[in-house]
Symmetry: C2
């Protein structure tokens, strides 16, 4: 469970947690300390994904092509994971970008370009189907470095017998090459049987997702006007958990990551190096200044943010969002104990539960200490007065907070409280992203899940973060991330994607995953 929570791609977080947790009871305990503004519910109505009619289209010729070529489709996934593309090490990046570009050309994309950035290149591709609708496909072609603990070589593309069935076990198997190449397999089967796709596609792939997508905006820059005219964005991924349950989140929180640093200077304290701790009697201590500055940011329990105005930009959830939370609360009732056990916590803040727990998790902002350090941190003791102390923090942002505005509030607060000696350093940040449940692309995806007997739990957003504001806010497009299939171990050893599930499993095998993508493209093309 630790891996499921802390190591995975943000979307996976919610998939893992939402469907294995939470209760419908909504008797939230009132806060004893000042708390974030309470989330107000104005409706108890619940969204029911099952009420959206199942997609009725049948594309038997395409399905048959997939079944007939499944062995080759598996080989396509293996070909992708066998090409290392470790962005953090610049290992195989160029080769993988060229491999993606070549595959797009082979599928009939008429415009394909390796897009130079100041970092690793992006890949752009346009498939002109002469169709009324155009879909943007977001892909990431980079992977995490392999770590120790693998039972098979990370870049061999091994097929392994697993408790869930036959799986592809390799770096990138689920994050993200497996689902992505499965999506391209689906395109291939459509083109081979129907001659062309039902929608136009604009592929915009990046090779720096695992680095936080620092240069992805440069890829978007180049095609912005064309991308803006599209009808939606799709990110192929395996949204089933190991039981087969599906979560469909319609947004992500934003984030701002920043560092506070205290050092010696004209305000006092040692500037160059630690000094003997006996000098504390006459010399200021950066470690105390950092501690004192940090402590002004929150209530004594650490759970309320005391930076003036920090909550002001937050909007209350819309009725549509409230209905999603009401629906989540009903679907996943009674599983808080197992969620606590999975996380290794004895209680949630204020013992909040049920709908209130979901609401606080998904709709409130945070300021959290990722790490802090100063002075001697080894075994035993070393009596020094350190010359520097640092803390790295992240704040999860909800609509309508922005990284710039929130960080400006922190800076202003620290100055007003007399902490001009504390350096505030922004590390990264982007705003939240949100898609409405009533957009055609969301309804199309739900209708296809329903056709496949996998009605999703629809969440208003993830509590995790990803820079999808690029699509939703900058391009103004609705976005769906999902698909059938299951994998795990994204940033951990023995990453896998299920290819052939064991008998009785509700997890989709590769053929079903690809058929979902086929249906989704046609459903999206056919939506009114």
């Amino acid at each position: 469970m630790r891996d499921m929570i802390s190591r995975l791609h943000p979307w996976r977080l919610a998939c893992a947690v939402l469907v294995t947790s939470l209760t419908a009871a909504s008797s939230g305990v009132l806060a004893q300390a000042p708390r974030p503004p309470a989330v107000r519910f104005t409706t108890d109505e619940a969204f029911d994904a099952g009420s959206i009619p199942a997609y009725k289209g049948q594309h038997e010729d395409v399905y048959r092509h997939i079944d007939a070529n499944l062995a080759d489709h598996v080989k396509q996934l293996q070909r992708w994971v066998r090409q290392p593309s470790v962005s953090a090490q610049n290992r195989g990046i160029k080769e993988m970008a060229e491999l993606v570009a070549a595959d797009l050309r082979q599928l009939g994309f008429t415009e394909v370009e390796i897009v130079t950035t100041t970092g690793h290149p992006g890949v752009f591709g346009y498939y002109d189907a002469g169709a009324p609708r155009t879909l943007v496909i977001y892909l990431m072609y980079d992977v995490q470095p392999e770590e120790t603990g693998w039972t098979v070589p990370a870049f061999d593309g091994a097929l392994v017998d697993h408790e869930l069935g036959r799986v592809l076990m390799a770096r990138g198997a689920t994050n993200q090459k497996g689902p992505e190449r499965a999506f391209l397999n689906a395109l291939d089967s459509i083109v081979k049987t129907r001659g062309k796709l039902p929608v136009n596609l604009l592929v915009v792939a990046e090779g720096e997702e695992e680095l936080g997508s620092p240069n992805y905006p440069q890829v978007i820059d180049r095609y912005e006007e064309r991308l803006k005219k599209a009808d939606g964005v799709f990110f192929p991924l395996s949204a089933q958990d190991r039981s087969g349950a599906v979560s469909l989140p319609l947004g992500v929180k934003g984030i701002v990551v920043f560092e506070l640093e205290a050092t010696g200077g004209t305000h006092g304290g040692p500037k160059n190096a630690e000094i003997h701790s006996s000098l504390k009697a006459i010399v200021d201590a950066p470690a105390w200044r950092l501690t004192q500055a940090l402590s002004t940011l929150t209530s004594p329990d650490g759970n309320s943010i005391l930076v003036p105005g920090y909550y002001d930009a937050i909007r209350q959830p819309t009725e549509a969002e409230q209905r999603l939370v009401n629906g989540m609360a009903r679907q996943v009732a009674g599983r808080e104990a197992s969620m606590r056990q999975g996380l290794g916590v004895d209680r949630f803040i204020d013992d909040v539960s049920g709908r209130d727990l979901l609401a606080r998790w998904l709709f409130t902002t945070t300021i959290n200490i990722n790490g802090m350090w100063s002075g001697y941190t080894g075994e035993g003791m070393k009596t020094i007065l350190p010359h520097v102390a640092r803390a790295r923090l992240d704040s999860r942002l909800v609509p309508n907070q922005t990284p710039d505005d929130q960080l400006a509030l922190v800076r202003k607060h620290l100055l007003e409280r007399g902490f001009a000696d504390i350096t505030v350093r922004r590390i990264s940040g982007y705003p939240p992203a949100q898609t409405d449940v009533n957009t055609p692309i969301v309804r199309a995806s739900i209708s296809v899940f329903n056709k496949h007997g996998a009605t999703p739990t629809v969440a208003p957003r993830l509590a995790g973060s990803a820079p999808y504001y690029i699509f939703t806010d900058r391009l103004g497009l609705p976005m769906v991330m999902g698909g059938l299939g299951h994998g795990s171990g994204a940033h951990a050893p023995n990453e896998y994607m299920v290819i052939e599930p064991r008998t009785g499993s509700r997890v989709a095998g590769l053929a079903a995953v690809e058929k979902f993508y086929v249906d989704f493209l046609y459903a999206f093309a056919e939506m009114k």
Copy 2:
């Protein structure tokens, strides 16, 4: 200078700082925040070490023996430093204890014993001179591990040309084998010329000083009744700085080192491992709890302790102590700027200066953060909610504070402020130690310094700490730590002791160091 301050044996700290710093101006700036109780001066009279008559004894036969055997005496120092005795690595400890014991036997000590403890052994020795006075000699025979950066092998005992003259460069050269074996050389020359020493000696050596003397009380236990009947304690060391100036501190602060730890538990927060930082919205954070707990210990500037009662046990300085500070302020006037430069600080707390600076440094207690750490502390970012956060602190204690009482106040305060979830863990501690300037052993040492033209700056105490309460409080004996000579680099590469100073230097060479010890023993024996 960094080495001079942060890496050296506590006594060295004051030797280095006291004589290169400070001004006589006493226009202290008043504190804007609550401050430790002001040190009250009821006299402006100054102690003048020069007013104590220089020791008049002449022991030419002994001096001649030293001069005639100096080459052999240097070899004795080399023999000691060539025997590694790294307590932290249990390397050569047994061999060095046996070497010390053998040397004592050779000098005519009639009782010599290797004293078993639960750690490294001590060495006890008794020299019966049939004299009225008995002196306890404290020795440490262990050394720090050697570090990188040595220009000669650390255990070769090399004689090296240095800007200060010919020096012995080796681990232990100054801390503490050089001065200690020089003291034994002096004993040897006395015995060889006069037949016996002028005082009885009780040697109590330890092999764990660099570990914080955890088992030294066990050595004392065994001989406590005999030790209590002695007339004083002497610790041979090189008290000159590189200019030749001498500092004679008459006490040390005590210390209590403790750790605060915040973890998840029934109060909330992750218990077993870090979790994804998006969960901060619903899960308590140990890092915030530690920060908040720490912040209650001090004022926002970190310079006043807000633990109720923490200052209550502090007594005001006696008039004798005040006179020492008044004398220090006059002797070392006008050197605050160079002290600040050496420490790398732009200002002292409250811009305090002169006598007030000395008073605050020597007479006030502190709580200082030695180190703190939580979560991810590497490059880049990792957005986690850490399950544990720790800070290690030290508090320097002045009379009449005790480690137990001060730590109890911290515990009580944290409980009263609602921090029952914070674990307070004592790491080590001992009370301060103080010797009166008017005791015979102190007056004897000053008279001998005066004879050698090296009138000391006498400090009421060091701001640093050492467990000398064992001698002053437990045994009830006055203690002097000092002697001529200069060395540096105690816990650093290229540690040295000057053997033959360059022409014109006021630093004593080995022969003069040994003659000081000869005079001191006779002066102590002859004191009324």
